[in-house]
């Protein structure tokens, strides 16, 4: 209001004072936009009184002698109110639009979840159903080896479904902040063994090299197993069955690092972070849940570690899990 008053003083020699009153709108407008109608009305009245006091005869009083001045002031005030209301309305609309946008985004995430889950459920279910129907059919001529094959399919795919369900639960716990690690001292080779065991027959494709002098790490073993299993599963799925997946454990500096490399399609620069987002599917064969790496990173970080990917397009991907060595090195595990 003071700024506008100064401007009116400066301009009153070149323009009729009455028409300069409209400049007070520039005091009202930003207040209306940023602080709402209540403050804008206050500024409108302050503007009217200031204009009246300094510029309308008799000056330096709040009295008015000319009825035209009254009408002009009423018009200014009305204009200020209408502009305030319009600005406030625009703000409300922008707010509503932002809320609608957030809802739409949330719907997109839910749709992506449903699509990913339904797709990832259907593959194992198809295999289980086909195998079960085959075993139940009286019209097929199956020998013992065939039956064993079908039973193995059911076993493998049931385990896969269990992992999918576990991943979904893990993700919901991580997102709810409820995945508190139960940390204990563990040797790295023990953690790697647990992960290989959980992977089942596919573990035979993994070449493991661990330094002899790896320090113990303080982690939640179940969560670390999930980190390793998810990264290894990803590597196995993206590699040809004849290509090895390697797991190399080293200690250097202040860290223990476990590096998992494959010879799959690799990652581009723009994928090395994106690949850890939930429902993000990388390139290559097979259909992951798009959850595994998101969960792996979540659990790695919950245990004070880091999980990162390296861009090596064309020559496979490498994932590096970095853990802090436990300060003490007791010999409880022999």
């Amino acid at each position: 209001v003071a700024l506008v008053t100064g401007t009116v003083f400066a301009l009153k020699t070149v323009a009729p004072v009455l028409s300069l009153g409209v400049l007070y709108i520039f005091a009202v407008l930003p207040v209306a936009v940023f602080y709402g109608l209540g403050y804008a009305l206050g500024v409108s009245i302050a503007s009217m009184l200031t204009f009246n006091f300094f510029f309308l005869p008799p000056v330096h009083t709040l009295a008015l002698t000319d009825s035209e001045n009254w009408v002009a002031l009423a018009v200014y005030l009305g204009t200020a109110v209408v502009v305030s209301e319009l600005a406030a309305l625009a703000r409300r609309r922008a707010h509503a639009a932002a809320e609608a946008d957030a809802l739409r985004r949330s719907d997109t995430v839910k749709t992506a979840l449903l699509h990913a889950v339904s797709h990832d459920l259907q593959s194992p279910l198809t295999a289980i159903r086909a195998a079960g129907d085959g075993l139940a059919s009286s019209s097929l001529e199956l020998d013992d080896a065939d039956r064993a094959e079908l039973l193995e399919t059911i076993r493998v795919e049931t385990a896969r479904l269990e992992r999918l369900v576990a991943n979904l639960l893990d993700l919901s716990r991580l997102e709810a902040g409820a995945a508190l690690p139960k940390q204990d001292l563990w040797p790295v080779d023990e953690l790697v063994s647990r992960a290989l065991e959980a992977l089942g027959p596919d573990a035979a494709r993994i070449a493991v090299e661990l330094d002899d002098d790896l320090p113990l790490v303080r982690v939640d073993a179940a969560q670390l197993e999930r980190v390793l299993v998810n990264v290894l599963e990803n590597a196995l799925r993206l590699s040809s069955p004849t290509d090895p997946v390697t797991l190399v454990g080293t200690s250097g500096g202040d860290d223990v690092s476990i590096r998992i490399s494959d010879r799959g399609p690799g990652l581009d620069e723009d994928e090395v972070e994106r690949i850890f987002e939930p429902f993000e599917h990388g390139r290559g064969p097979g259909h992951g849940t798009g959850l595994g790496l998101a969960i792996a990173r979540g659990f790695a970080e919950a245990n004070g570690g880091r999980l990162s990917a390296e861009a090596r397009s064309g020559s496979g991907a490498a994932f590096v899990l970095t853990l802090e060595p436990a300060a003490a090195r007791p010999t409880v595990f022999g």
């Binding site: 295999a127 086909a130 019209s139 097929l140 193995e152 493998v156 064969p285």
Partner: protein, 151 residues
């Protein structure tokens, strides 16, 4: 035993394994492929009497494979698709596929291709039944579904 050759194309190893075992148990010879390229190569090497084709393959879509196959083969193609992927199904049928079966109920679908997965003598003219029981599908037709040329 029909002795006819079926090419099964799916990148899910366990689906491939279960379908292969069932089809062999039903008397078919089975070739398998896990990619579109491998499927086309296998079909060229040993022309199949029928093809079971997953729509989602790592290197190219099942629809593309079907379209290319159709340029030189008239073997019936049964597409495996997931529930809800209607546009893909339509595209596959447009590309020359003869029918589709929805996962996960591939082996109990009402599709005319139903019996192929484990019935000994599936027929293209199979009556559709919602009972879900294999015995409700005619298996006595003289001509197996897989032997019916599509065009």
């Amino acid at each position: 035993m029909s002795g006819q050759r079926v090419l099964v194309v799916d990148d899910e190893p366990q689906i491939l394994r279960a379908l292969t075992t069932n089809l062999r148990g039903a008397g078919y010879e089975v070739d398998t492929a896990a990619t579109g390229e491998a499927a086309l190569a296998a079909a060229a090497m040993r022309p199949p009497d029928a093809v079971i084709l997953d729509l989602v393959l790592p290197d190219r879509s099942g629809t593309e494979v079907c379209r290319e196959l159709r340029t030189w083969s008239s073997a019936p193609v049964l597409v495996l698709s997931v529930v809800g992927d209607e546009p893909e199904k339509v595209a596959a049928l447009d590309a020359g596929a003869d029918d589709y079966v929805e996962k996960p109920s591939a082996s109990t679908s009402c599709s005319p291709g139903f019996g192929l997965f484990f019935g000994g003598r599936p027929t293209r003219a199979s009556p559709c039944s919602r009972s879900g029981s294999s015995s409700s599908i005619s298996t006595s037709a003289p001509s197996p579904w897989v032997a019916v040329p599509c065009r």
